[in-house]
Symmetry: C2
Subunit: 353 residues, 2 copies
C-alpha cells in the first residue's frame, strides 16, 4: 500500500511534557482513508492535522454510526518508539465495525498507516516518565443523508495525542459508586463494541457519581441490575481469597486488551483467574467476611487503577484499607515495564517501530 | 432573540417534487447556535447551508454525544405553511438532552429559529400531495478533546429537507421480523432519548431482517426478550378484540409524538387504548385465536405504517389478510388531513407560520 504524504508546512510548538494531561494536544499530521461502495477503502494518505469538513446531514451527526480504538506508543530507554498490542486493537476495531455495520478495514493497512504517521510525527512521542503518545484510530459515517440505514461512505482516521503520566506520584486508589439505576449495555446490544453510543450513554451516571463524591461508577448488568460488569470505561477485577475474579465476556462487556494482558500475567504468576459472573451482593459478602483483598480496574489510559472504596446502598466498603494492593502494584509495574521496554517482553506484545 | 441572517448568494436549483425521497435534498440555509460554558447558548444565526468544519478530535466523532428531532412542515390548501406539534418535538429534544448531559435549549428560541428558517426557505416547502418539508433540529458535542466526560461546547443546528410522499399509491402493509437476539434499548439506558447511539445499535438487526425478506424488525425488551417494544424506529400498536394495545413508556421506548396523536384520536373516537406490556407469545395467541384485527406502526416519516406480516420463530403470522385495517386507514387519513389543514384541528396540534 502506498501512502500519499502531504507534509504540514506549519508545525505546531510542542506542549510542555510535564503538563500534557489526556487528549488535549494533537500532533502535526493525521492518517486518512475513505470508503465508498465502488472503491471500498481507498486513498490512504497522511495530511496536516486539521478540521474535517462534513455536510451537516452527515450520518455520524445523527445516527452515531462510529467506532474507535485507543492504544499507546511509548518511547523506550533506547529512545526508540514501540507500540503495545496494536494488532489486538486493530482486530477489535473490526469487531466493532462488524457490529455497527461499518465495512471492516485491512489490519495491515491500518498498521502501516499508524506506523508511518507515528514515524513522521516521531518528535511528538514524549520521553518524560509515564508519558506516551496516545493513538486514536476511528471511523465515521459521512453520507449526507437522513434515512436510517448503514451509510455507504465512511472516513477512517488516525490522530495522535501526547499524553501525560496518569498517576503523578504513584497509583492512587479511586472511589467507585455502584450504579443500580443507569445501565451502560445489555446482551444483544453494543456493549462489546467501542462505539460512541456506549460512551454517550455512560455520561449521566458518571456525572451523578462525581456529584456524590465518587470518581467513577461500577456498572451492573442491564437485565437484573446485580451482576458486576465494568468500572467506567475499564474492566473490573477482584482478588478474593487469593483468586482473581473478573466478569466473563458475554456481549455486554468490552473485551479489554489490558484485561487480557492482566489475565495473562496473573496466570503466568501462578494465580488462579476466574471469569465468572458475580453479583454485587456476593462481592459485599466477601468484603464483610474479610475475603476481598484487592479490587482494581484495567484500561489503556490508566493501565491499572486500584479501587479503594465501593459506595453501595449508602455505605462505603473500604477495600484493603484504601491502599494499593500487592497484585495491583505488581501488575502496574510489570505492564508498564513491558510497555516502556524496561523488561523483556515474553508475550510478543510489543512492536518496535 | 435577534437572529443574525446571512443569505445564500448561490441558491440551489430545487429538486423535482415527484422524486424527492427522504432526506436526500437540503435547502439553502440552516439555523445555528453555539454553546460554551461562559456564554451558554448564544449567537443564533441563519447561514447558507454548508459544511461544518470540526476538529477530528471533536467529541461527537468519538463518544456519540448527540441528540436530534424530526418533524414536518406542510403546505396547506391555502398555500400557507404549517407545522405539526412542533413544541412537543422541541420539549422532547430537551428530554433527550438531559439524558445525554447536553445543556437544554430555550424552546421558544428553537421555535423562533425554525420559524424564521422555514419562512426564509419557504419556496422549498413542496406542494405535491403527500410531500412535506422535513425539519431536523440536532445538537452535537464539539470539544476537541478525547477524555470521556460531557463536552463543554456544542452546536445546535436546524436543517431542512423537502421529502416525498412516503406511500406512493396508498398505504402498503409491511413485513416485520420479530427480533429475538439483538436489543435496541433497556430500562436505565437511553431508549427514550433521540440520540445517535440508539439508531447505530439498531442497524445490524435491520440489515439482517432485510436479508431475510422483511422490511423492519419488531424489538422485544432487553431484559427478557419477550415484551413487545417498538417497530424499527416507530411505536407499535395492535388492535385486539376491538381494543388497541401499545407498549407503556417505561424508559426503553421513545415517547413518539405520532404515538401520542394516535392514542388521542383513538380515544376521541371512543376506542379503548391499553398501554400495557404484552409478550410476543400473547400476541401470537391472540393471532391464532383470530382476535388480532390490525397491527400498525406510528412515526413522523410514515405517520401510520400497517403491519401485514409478523415473522416469528420461522412462521409468518399474516394480519388482517395482509390488508390495511379500517382503524389504521382512518388514523392515517385523519392525521394527514389535520397536518395538511384539510380538516379542523380540534387538538391544537397545528401552528401556522
Amino acid at each position: 500500500m502506498e501512502i500519499r504524504i502531504t507534509k504540514n508546512d506549519a508545525p505546531k510548538q510542542k506542549p510542555d511534557e510535564n503538563n500534557l494531561g489526556f487528549g488535549n494536544y494533537f500532533t502535526d499530521h493525521m492518517f486518512v482513508m475513505d470508503y465508498d461502495l465502488e472503491k471500498g477503502w481507498h486513498d490512504p494518505r497522511i495530511e496536516p492535522y486539521g478540521p474535517l469538513s462534513l455536510d451537516p446531514s452527515a450520518m455520524v451527526f445523527h445516527y452515531g454510526q462510529e467506532t474507535f480504538e485507543g492504544l499507546k506508543a511509548y518511547r523506550n530507554d533506547q529512545g526508540n518508539i514501540q507500540l503495545f498490542r496494536v494488532m489486538d486493537n486493530l482486530n477489535r476495531l473490526n469487531q466493532s465495525n462488524e457490529r455497527m455495520c461499518i465495512p471492516t478495514l485491512d489490519v495491515e493497512a491500518m498498521f502501516q498507516g499508524i506506523k508511518e504517521l507515528i514515524l513522521l510525527d516521531g518528535d511528538w512521542v514524549p520521553s518524560q516518565p509515564g508519558t506516551s503518545l496516545y493513538v486514536r484510530p476511528f471511523v465515521i459515517a459521512t453520507d449526507p443523508f437522513l434515512g436510517v440505514r448503514p451509510a455507504s461512505t465512511y472516513k477512517f482516521l488516525v490522530i495522535l495525542s501526547p499524553v501525560g503520566a496518569y498517576y503523578k506520584g504513584g497509583l492512587n486508589p479511586t472511589r467507585i459508586y455502584v450504579e443500580e439505576y443507569y445501565v451502560r449495555a445489555v446482551a444483544g446490544g453494543t456493549g462489546f463494541a467501542k462505539t460512541g453510543g456506549n460512551y454517550a450513554a455512560s455520561l449521566k451516571a458518571q456525572v451523578e457519581a462525581n456529584e456524590k463524591g465518587y470518581n467513577q461508577v461500577l456498572w451492573l448488568d442491564g437485565k437484573e441490575h446485580k451482576y458486576i460488569e465494568e468500572v467506567g470505561t475499564s474492566n473490573a477485577f477482584f482478588k478474593i481469597d487469593g483468586k482473581v475474579y473478573t466478569a466473563p465476556l458475554e456481549g455486554s462487556i468490552l473485551s479489554g486488551i489490558t484485561r487480557n494482558s492482566t489475565i495473562t500475567l496473573l496466570k503466568d504468576w501462578g494465580l488462579e483467574v476466574v471469569e465468572e459472573k458475580m453479583t454485587i451482593q456476593q462481592l459485599a459478602e466477601h468484603h464483610k467476611a474479610g475475603r476481598l483483598e484487592e479490587a482494581f480496574a484495567t484500561g489503556t489510559a490508566a493501565v491499572i487503577s486500584p479501587i479503594g472504596v465501593l459506595g453501595w446502598q449508602g455505605e462505603d466498603l473500604v477495600i484493603n484499607d484504601n491502599q494499593i494492593g500487592e497484585v495491583s502494584q505488581k501488575l502496574y509495574d510489570t505492564m508498564t515495564a513491558i510497555q516502556y521496554g524496561k523488561v523483556e517482553d515474553e508475550f510478543g506484545w510489543v512492536i518496535q517501530l
